[in-house]
């Protein structure tokens, strides 16, 4: 079977619906007059399963477009860079974490070149972010993170 839009949609709906249905069965059901926490999830996830099956059946008609991937890499680089940012934010402080995210994400571009211009641009931007978000807007994010403080930075 080719990977068409309908296959992905139907598969996604059916898979999520099934998991939600199985988990939902664990919650007390209650009665219509006194709905328990399981009542609504079971209805919704059962309907989601049916919708998923419906779309999978429709996929057999072969009318939806086939999905092609042209570039996998940006998906991993960008999401990896953002997850790293979340992890490092309070450990390195805002400016350094922004600098890493900026360069990390930028490297997903086909035109990216790692040179002094890219680093300088990202450095200026991360300083601006530090001033804007921490100093001016007062967001409670450290400018110098816990790792750096442990190493004796001011």
């Amino acid at each position: 079977m080719k990977l068409t839009q309908d296959v992905v949609q139907g598969g996604l709906f059916l898979a999520i619906g099934l998991v939600a249905l199985l988990l939902g069965l664990d919650y007390p059901l209650g009665t219509p007059g006194r709905m328990g926490p399981g009542f609504f999830p079971i209805i919704i996830s059962a309907m989601l399963c049916l919708t998923g099956i419906g779309i999978l059946l429709r996929a057999r008609l072969g009318t939806s477009e086939v999905i092609y991937m042209t570039r996998w890499l940006p998906l991993f680089i960008v999401s990896g860079a953002i997850i790293a940012f979340g992890f490092l934010l309070d450990k390195l402080g805002l400016p350094l974490a922004v600098l890493l995210l900026c360069i990390g994400a930028a490297s997903a571009s086909i035109r990216f070149q790692f040179d002094w211009k890219a680093v300088a641009g990202a450095a200026v931007f991360s300083l601006i972010c530090g001033i804007l978000f921490v100093t001016l807007l007062g967001l409670p994010i450290p400018l110098v993170g816990s790792w750096l403080q442990a190493m004796g930075a001011p």
Binding site: L12, P37, I44, V98, L101
Partner: protein, 501 residues
């Protein structure tokens, strides 16, 4: 409180130096981010949200509203100059707007959009002033039954009015409702779908999901096709409409405003339907229908007016009922909840300064858009021309900081990334995410109202068919569902929606 003293109170609230400054800042920032290709209102609002966190509630709401019209308007600029619609409702504008731009009439197209938007915004605001108190009064008599039916109508309309099949839309609505169930069940205190994680006990934050799907998802989708993303920007010539332009756009602006004001109030119907129907109407009644699509100024003025009028009146269901009509309004509700305000009919009684201040500032915001944007159009054109490879790392940074700062949680950053990837998958699979976003807010409300309605009726579901308001609402929903299955309507919908993504 009568309308006059309400407006006076609103004027007092909106004209304080702080509120005026933030309204101005919101409009300016909203436009600046909104003109950037690929950043529609939802992504723009969620990116700029942290700027409002430290502000008092009224100031924050005024600024958010400013960001909202700014981004809406910025989208039209991009649509006209670059043929790139930032969001679905600007698609119609690209048809004639970009055709005009290619003929060297970009300035006049932008002026038609700006003037049409301003007029429509003014009328839309007046409409809120008159209709909102009435509706809020009515809403106070609504019980859980009526609310539940209204929510059903909202979800049905959002399904009918998105591109792709109805079945797909239905699946996205259900998925959104399921995501809305994550967290602690308010009634029983049971933890649902939390997988034992304390981070999920409070539920999935709406802003986090919207930012992931619309902000990050868009970046991921654009990067895949990066090489093809080269677009030319039309030069902006004279901004002054000619006498002929004025003559040709007056009627369309008036009619477009009327359509937008009415359709904007419908839950789920929103901007898309209004701009599309305004365009279709002008094409139908025009003496020169063959000019449409080739640079007819009517084709810019009418949908832009309709779009903006609807953008104003879309606030009505949100402010008076607490029900968002569009995905953007759902995000506004999410932002309000972050601020500790629960929108609904009580907002008018309990926080009149907030309500009236917002209404007056809407008009001020529209005026600012008009006087700011035409002179600054050169600046916007330059912003548009920033290459995407410089832009997208900054988008990543702003979304990540924004999401983190909601509750200082790295977990939310991870969650946003997950939904970014999911948003990318949705795009690849041809599933429009707007109904999911709407259902995410409406789902928990639907459950709560269903539960209360059935509790009152002792489990008898026939209550939904005995209350007149509820029956009427459900009938409208049914008519919408049936009409989409009719060939004639289906064709119109496909014509209007297929290009939209």
């Amino acid at each position: 409180m009568d309308i006059f003293s309400g407006l006076l109170l609103g004027l007092q609230t909106a004209s304080t130096l702080t509120n005026f400054t933030y309204c101005f800042a919101g409009v300016l920032l909203g436009t600046a981010v909104g003109v950037l290709p690929g950043l529609g209102p939802i992504a723009t609002i969620s990116m700029l949200l942290p700027f409002t966190f430290g502000l008092p509630v009224d100031t924050a709401l005024i600024m958010l509203a400013g960001i909202f019209y700014g981004s809406q308007y910025g989208g039209s600029t991009t649509a006209i100059l670059m043929n790139l619609p930032g969001e679905a409702s600007s698609v119609v504008t690209t048809l004639d707007g970009h055709a005009m731009a290619k003929q060297g009439k970009a300035g006049r197209a932008l002026a038609a959009a700006a003037i049409g938007s301003f007029f429509a915004g003014t009328v839309g605001t007046l409409f809120i002033v008159i209709a909102a108190p009435l509706l809020a009064g009515m809403a106070l008599s609504f019980g859980p039954t009526e609310y539940f039916s209204l929510i059903v109508l909202g979800l049905v309309t959002s399904m009918v009015l998105t591109s792709g099949s109805l079945l797909t839309g239905f699946g996205m609505v259900l998925l959104g409702m399921l995501l809305g169930m994550v967290g602690t069940d308010v009634n029983s205190g049971a933890a649902r779908y939390t997988f034992g994680s304390p981070d999920l006990m409070d539920g999935l934050n709406f802003v986090v999901i919207a930012t992931g799907i619309f902000g990050l998802g868009d970046v991921l989708a654009n990067l895949e096709h990066e090489s093809s993303r080269a677009a030319s920007i039309a030069k902006v010539s004279s901004l002054f409409p000619t006498r002929e332009d004025w003559r040709r756009m007056t009627g369309p602006i008036l009619r477009g405003t009327g359509i937008g004001v009415l359709l904007g109030v419908l839950p789920g119907a929103g901007l898309l339907l209004s701009s599309f129907s305004a365009y279709a109407l002008e094409k139908k009644i025009s003496k020169h229908p063959e000019e449409f699509g080739k640079g007819a100024i009517e084709g810019v003025a009418a949908p832009e007016a309709a779009n903006n009028a609807a953008a104003q009146t879309a606030f009505i269901p949100m402010l008076t009922l607490g029900l968002p009509g569009t995905a953007t309004m759902a995000l506004m509700i999410g932002a309000l909840v972050v601020q500790g305000v629960q929108p609904g009919p009580n907002i008018l009684v309990e926080q009149p300064a907030l309500f009236w201040g917002l209404v007056v500032s809407m008009w001020i915001g529209n005026l600012l858009l008009l006087i700011l944007n035409l002179p600054l159009v050169g600046l916007w054109a330059r912003l548009i021309s920033i290459p995407y490879r410089y832009l997208f790392p900054l988008i990543c940074v702003f979304t990540a900081i924004g999401v983190y700062s909601i509750r200082n949680s790295a977990f939310d950053v991870y969650l946003m990334t997950l939904f970014g990837v999911l948003g990318y998958v949705f795009r690849k699979a041809g599933a429009e995410p707007a109904p999911l976003i709407l259902a995410l807010i409406l789902g928990p409300m639907a459950e709560e109202y269903l539960r209360r309605a059935l509790l009152i009726s002792h489990g008898d579901a026939s209550v939904f068919f005995t209350s007149p308001v509820s029956v009427g609402t459900l009938l409208i929903a049914l008519v919408l569902l049936v009409s989409i299955l009719l060939p004639a309507f289906r064709r119109v919908r496909e014509e209007g929606l297929t290009e939209i993504d």
